[in-house]
Each structure stands twice: as structure tokens, then as C-alpha cells.
């Protein structure tokens, strides 16, 4: 893992300086984006698209952006990527986990084209990977959830039982337990990233089971809409701020912010300094943003959440710090020990205290 120190502002200034006088390139840099959903899905793909647009805005005419939405993962992705590469793009962002193998296959055939694959773990000389440490945001949500629940039951709407999602469950649970040792967490698995009807049903079921705080790892606003109707239940914006549900039920949110990364990588192509990296950025770098914590959160809880945010940003605190045991009671992290990225990236176990098992 290569961690980068970087701020959008400094980079923006640098870009402006370097791009203006030269315009050495007679041709604009051509950048392709491939999305798994439609660009107005309200969640994952939309945020990648909006970040791409911010990147385009930043560079203006020196960049040409081409996009393809709703590309199924698998065989179709490989064809789409090949056609994009043939059309003469310099850099392609493949923004879904399932594009991993197609990206690598196409990258092999087009060594001069550079690829950036989101959330994967395989790289090549012309393939980078990038992802965000969303579990840092989950720790903040867990703190608020543990501090606010009265029924001591927190609901969690899971999508697929992959490391990314399991990390989020563990992270929020660990912090919720710190705020309130009696907290129980109920996880519902939906096997989808986006299905408003299913998400709404899951939310209702969790409320019936007594949950008064519900976290979601699915992308629609349906859960918040159900919570608003039910009353007395709080939740969080996911991937987007979902500000329309402020001040309650949405008491805070995790926002994906890819724009600084996109700007940096396109700049690297312009400068000829692009090389394959594995990026996993979090709150510190701004890739994970925490949306406004509303007044519905009691002051002491909000303060604790903000302190944690600052500590994570400054690097003085890691959400997975020992002592922590695995669900079966075996020691995972000793007192003061911090989880390593390798374990986190492949996380397929629950921490102690969580009920149920990771489905497979």
C-alpha cells in the first residue's frame, strides 16, 4: 500500500500553473469512465460520474471525458474497455469491483493505455487500484449509533458479504459497543447494492425487531424514507449526503469523494509521471467525507464523534485498535495493536459480540 500525502487545493494550484503556459500537448488527454450503474442511480455510480465531471471542470479543455454507464460486469465489460482503448483513450477508470479481471485482460493488450480499477486488489504495470477506507466513516456512525440507541438494538442493512461490507459492520459495532456495552447488532443481507423495494422491506423488518438506529450499505434513500415515516428511528446517508432527510432521520452521512483522486491521476498522465499504485485513502485525504452531524445528535455524542474524526484524520487513532477478539473468542488484536491492511482487505470474520455468522 502506498499512502499519498496530498491536498486537492495544492494540486489544483499546481495543475493551473503547469497546464496554462505549456499547453504543450496539442491533443487533450482522453479519459474514459466505465460505470456499473446508471449515472443517476443516486449512489455509487452517480458519485463516480459527478467526481469525473468535477475533474473535467478542473482541467477544462485539456481533458476529454468519455463515459459508459450500466456496463454489466463480466464479458461485456471486457468488450467495452477494448473499444474504449481502441478509440484512443489515455486513461480509463473502471469503477466497480467486478471489472477487475476484464481490466487486467484489456490492460495486457494495450500496454500504453493506463487503467485505474476501483476497489480491486490486482495491479499490473499499467493498472492501478484505488479505494476508500469507508470503515473509518463507519466508526463515526457506530459512535453516534451506540450513543443514541435507546432500545440497544442497531440494525444493519448489508449488501453482499464481502470484506468491504464486513469491515463496515465490524467497525461500526466495535465503536457502538464502546459507547454502550449492551448494544446488539442485527444484520440483514440483501444481495444487492441498489433495490429500493428490498431496502424498504429490510428497514421495516429491522424496526419491527426493535432497532432504533439503522445503518445501510446499500445505495438508495428508501431506508431513510421508511425511517422518516416510522419516526423515532435514525439512520445515515450512504455514498451520498442524502441531505433531504436532515435533521432526522439522517443524522450524518458517509460521502464518497473521488474527485481529488481523479484530478491527481489525470494530472500524472499529463505530466508523464503516472505509475501503477495501490491507493487506499480515508478521512485524512478527503476520499471519505463525513456529512454534517445534525442537531438531533446529543452534544456529548456529537463531540465524541467529531473527536474521533479528528483523531482518525491526524493518524493518532485507528478504528481497529486492540484489544479485539474474533467472534469465536480467539484473540485478533492484542492491547494497543492496530489492524494491518492485509487483514482488513480480506476481512471475512465478525468481531466478538456480533451475533449470527457471515453468510456463504
Amino acid at each position: 500500500m502506498i499512502r499519498r500525502q496530498f491536498t486537492a487545493l495544492a494540486l489544483g494550484a499546481a495543475a493551473a500553473l503547469s497546464a496554462l503556459p505549456g499547453l504543450a500537448q496539442d491533443k487533450p488527454v482522453k479519459v474514459g469512465f466505465v460505470y456499473v450503474g446508471s449515472i443517476n442511480d443516486g449512489g455509487w455510480s452517480q458519485h463516480h460520474h459527478e467526481s469525473a465531471m468535477k475533474m473535467k471542470e478542473h482541467f477544462g479543455d485539456t481533458v476529454e471525458v468519455i463515459e459508459q454507464e450500466s456496463v454489466p460486469e463480466g464479458a461485456d465489460a471486457e468488450r467495452v474497455l477494448t473499444q474504449m482503448a481502441l478509440s484512443g483513450v489515455d486513461l480509463i477508470f473502471t469503477t466497480s469491483f467486478g471489472y477487475m479481471e476484464p481490466t487486467l485482460n484489456v490492460a495486457k493488450k494495450f500496454p500504453k493505455v493506463k487503467f485505474e480499477h476501483a476497489t480491486g486488489y490486482k495491479t499490473a504495470p499499467n493498472v492501478s487500484t484505488y479505494s476508500a477506507r469507508f470503515y473509518e466513516g463507519r466508526a463515526i456512525e457506530g459512535t453516534i449509533a451506540g450513543g443514541m440507541t435507546k432500545s440497544n438494538i442497531i440494525g444493519y442493512i448489508g449488501s453482499f458479504p464481502i470484506p468491504e461490507v464486513i469491515r463496515g459492520i465490524n467497525s461500526s459495532f466495535v465503536q457502538a459497543r464502546k459507547m454502550n456495552p449492551d448494544v446488539q447488532m442485527r444484520v440483514v443481507w440483501l444481495s444487492t447494492w441498489f433495490d429500493p423495494a428490498k431496502e424498504a422491506d429490510a428497514t421495516k423488518a429491522l424496526i419491527e425487531q426493535g432497532a432504533d438506529v439503522i445503518l445501510q450499505h446499500t445505495d438508495s434513500t428508501a431506508p431513510l424514507a421508511v425511517m422518516e415515516k416510522a419516526g423515532g428511528v435514525i439512520g445515515f446517508g450512504q455514498a451520498a449526503d442524502m441531505a433531504e432527510f436532515k435533521p432526522t432521520p439522517r443524522v450524518s452521512s458517509i460521502i464518497d469523494n473521488w474527485a481529488p483522486y481523479y484530478i491527481e491521476r489525470v494530472q500524472a498522465v499529463m505530466d508523464g509521471t503516472w505509475e501503477s499504485v495501490s491507493t487506499w485513502d480515508g478521512i485524512k485525504e478527503g476520499m471519505v467525507q463525513i456529512g454534517e452531524i445534525t442537531d438531533a445528535v446529543p452534544e456529548d455524542v456529537a463531540t465524541k464523534a467529531r473527536t474521533m474524526m479528528d483523531d482518525i484524520a491526524s493518524g493518532t487513532y485507528h478504528p481497529f485498535t486492540g484489544p479485539l477478539n474474533k467472534q469465536d473468542g480467539t484473540v485478533w488484536l492484542k492491547d494497543g495493536e492496530v489492524a494491518d491492511d492485509g487483514t482488513l482487505l480480506g476481512m471475512n470474520f465478525y468481531v466478538e459480540g456480533l451475533e449470527g455468522s457471515v453468510p456463504n
Partner: protein, 365 residues
């Protein structure tokens, strides 16, 4: 006033003309839609229909891809067309496609990492059996309990999708995949990789199977007694019964063939272009094949052409998306128009348009 008059026999001319007219009408209506979206309609239509075939930049890659994309569509559509002709409505080819891939892939993975040349043929057989068995469920339920095979086969698609998700997350998950969902990649396992047989042609075993299916179906319908029974049952079910055709056997045969072919398509796709069992492995081939079957007039050669045309709209549609920033939904609407116009123009095969003066006495209502 325009009046439709039923033809005594379906017009031969219109049977052949309908698809062509439908394509032309789609181009016109689609062009209008692209124009309304602020795109140059001529350029959009050219990108969809011409560029994948003849554009210097893309054609060398896109042309073979046409076969790759069309093969599963043709293979599935051929199977479906036999049933459709006999009035057996298998709508769930998508599910049979999934189960074929899961069963065939599972059999293969049981032998991983063996290099035996027998594994791939074994997987093919298993894939066919998987699809066949999945189609037997609605088939047998129809024969035993007279349930609707339309509903049962369709609903089984969603069951198959759940099985697929469970397989990619559990039983078949790649142990070296770092906990991520999805099986091992079959493309990277040389003994079973369904690679291009002749480099640069896109020709893989699935394409070969599709061509064989076209020829097989043609011969079956033209020469074989089963083909005769299928045609007869479709045209006159009562007469077929008197002629000694067992409806139950015909239902099971048609469901079985279509299921097996869909399963084969899944297996070839799995070991070839798709590479691995994953949650999103199925990409709608089973449903699109229904359109292909009807676009091809349920005729083997027609289906071959329709499959290629459909593949062209997909590949050209993708080009149009990123070259002209046409939204994905517009491409889907464009494909939908194709079926819509086909069915609309199809009326001309069975009906004649008459321009008649309204008779004041009877036409007042």
C-alpha cells in the same frame, strides 16, 4: 377509413419483408429519438450499424466480437424457437443459462487444477444437463399438474439468480480470491479455457455450437418426424393429437432441448468471455434470446441473422454511448423499438390493409 382484412394465408412476401421494414422503421424512429436528444441522428445510426463492421479503428476487433456476442443469443433462441413453434412457452432460459454454467463450472472446479483434456468435454455435458434439468421443472409440472410453464420457468429465473449469488459467495468462491465473491477464473485454467479457435475471428466453441444448433434445427424441422410434430402441433394442436403426437412428450422434449441449449450457452460463456461464476454472471442473454427468436421468425436461418443483428445493436450501441455520449437507456429504447416495429409490421403478414370508404349506415357507430 383504414380497415384490416385477414389474408386467407399468411403473405410469403411480407414474412420476409417484415424484419427489413422493421429495421428501417427503427432507424427512422430511433433517428428521431437521437435527434430529440440533441445528437446527430445520421451519425448515431452510422455508429450503431456501420462502425462496428467497417470503421478502421474498431472493425478488426468489433467484427469478431459480433460472433462472440451473438453466439449465446443464437444458441438459446434456437432452442426456444422449437418450443415456441409448438406452443410451449419457455420464458426462463435465463435461469437455465445460469444453472448450466453453475453445474458445468462446478463439475470443472471439482477437478481443479487437473490438466486433463477430458475435463472440458465433461463440463460441456454437465452444463447441458444442468440447463436441461432446470427446464424439466416447469416441464414436468406442466405435464403432471397442468401448471403454466410461462410462470414457473420465469419465476425459476429468480431462484437460479439466488443460487448463483450463493455459489459465488460460498461453495464456488475462489479460495485464493482474498475473500471476494466469484469463482476461479476459467480463462486462466488452460485445460478448460474456451479460447478463440482461430486467432482474430472470435470463433470459440460456443460459436461453433451455435452454428451447429442452427444447422441441426434446420434439418430437424425440415426432415425429422419430431420437427413435423412440432410444426403440426403449433399449427393445429387437435389435429396433432389425432395424428398420434403425445402432447406431454412434446412439451418435455421442447423444454428439454431449449433448457439444454441454454445451459450450454451458459457453460461456453463461463469458460470463455465471462471467465468466472460471479453474482452478475447472467447478463440477460436468456431474455434477449426471446426477442431474437421472434425477430428471426422462429426460423433457424432467421435466428442466425437476428442474433447477429441484435449483437450489432449492442456493440454499436456501446460505441454510440461513449463516442457520442448517447445515454444507455436510449440504446435500450432503440432495441425495444426493433421488437415493437417487428410485431407491428408483422400484422401485414396476416392482414391486408384496405382503404375503404366509410359506409354511412353501418359506419356511424
Amino acid at each position: 377509413m383504414i380497415r384490416l382484412e385477414k389474408r386467407p394465408t399468411p403473405s410469403k412476401m411480407w414474412t420476409y419483408l417484415t424484419p427489413i421494414v422493421a429495421v428501417l422503421l427503427t432507424m427512422i424512429a430511433g433517428g428521431l429519438m437521437f435527434a430529440a436528444l440533441g445528437k446527430n441522428p445520421v451519425e448515431a445510426i452510422r455508429t450503431i450499424f456501420y462502425d462496428p463492421l467497417f470503421n478502421e479503428q474498431f472493425a478488426a476487433y468489433s467484427r469478431p466480437q459480433l460472433l462472440v456476442k451473438a453466439a449465446p443469443l443464437i444458441l438459446i433462441a434456437i432452442g426456444l424457437s422449437l418450443g415456441f413453434r409448438a406452443g410451449v412457452w419457455n420464458i426462463g432460459a435465463e435461469g437455465q443459462y445460469i444453472i448450466g454454467a453453475v453445474v458445468g463450472g462446478g463439475v470443472g472446479l471439482a477437478f481443479y487444477p487437473s490438466g486433463s483434456p477430458l475435463i472440458f468435454p465433461l463440463m460441456i455435458v454437465a452444463g447441458g444437463i444442468g440447463g436441461w434439468a432446470w427446464a424439466m421443472i416447469p416441464g414436468l409440472l406442466r405435464v403432471w399438474f397442468n401448471t403454466s410453464e410461462i410462470l414457473v420457468s420465469l419465476l425459476l429465473v429468480y431462484v437460479a439468480e439466488q443460487i448463483l449469488a450463493s455459489m459465488s459467495l460460498g461453495l464456488m468462491r475462489n479460495p485464493e480470491g482474498g475473500g471476494f465473491p466469484g469463482s476461479r477464473n476459467f480463462q486462466q485454467w488452460d485445460a478448460v479455457a474456451n479460447v478463440e479457435l482461430i486467432p482474430g475471428t472470435g470463433m470459440h466453441w460456443g460459436v461453433v455450437a451455435a452454428f451447429l444448433a442452427v444447422i441441426g434445427a434446420y434439418v430437424l424441422l425440415a426432415k425429422h418426424v419430431l420437427g413435423y410434430q412440432i410444426r403440426l402441433t403449433g399449427a393445429a394442436p387437435r389435429a396433432a393429437r389425432f395424428a398420434g403426437v403425445s402432447p406431454s412428450r412434446l412439451i418435455l422434449t421442447c423444454m428439454g432441448i431449449s433448457g439444454a441449449l441454454a445451459g450450454l450457452a451458459g457453460l461456453f460463456e463461463l469458460t470463455g468471455p465471462a471467465g468466472q461464476i460471479s453474482i452478475d454472471f447472467n447478463s440477460g442473454y436468456g431474455f434477449t434470446a426471446i426477442i431474437v427468436a421472434f425477430l428471426g421468425r422462429l426460423h433457424p436461418v432467421g435466428i442466425l441473422l437476428a442474433g447477429l443483428l441484435m449483437a450489432l445493436t449492442y456493440i454499436g450501441g456501446e460505441l454510440a454511448q461513449f463516442m457520442l455520449s448517447v445515454p444507455a437507456a436510449a440504446i435500450q429504447a432503440f432495441q425495444g423499438m426493433l421488437l415493437f416495429f417487428l410485431l407491428a409490421v408483422d400484422v401485414l403478414t396476416n392482414y391486408r390493409i384496405r382503404l375503404a370508404r366509410t359506409d354511412t349506415k353501418t359506419g356511424a357507430a
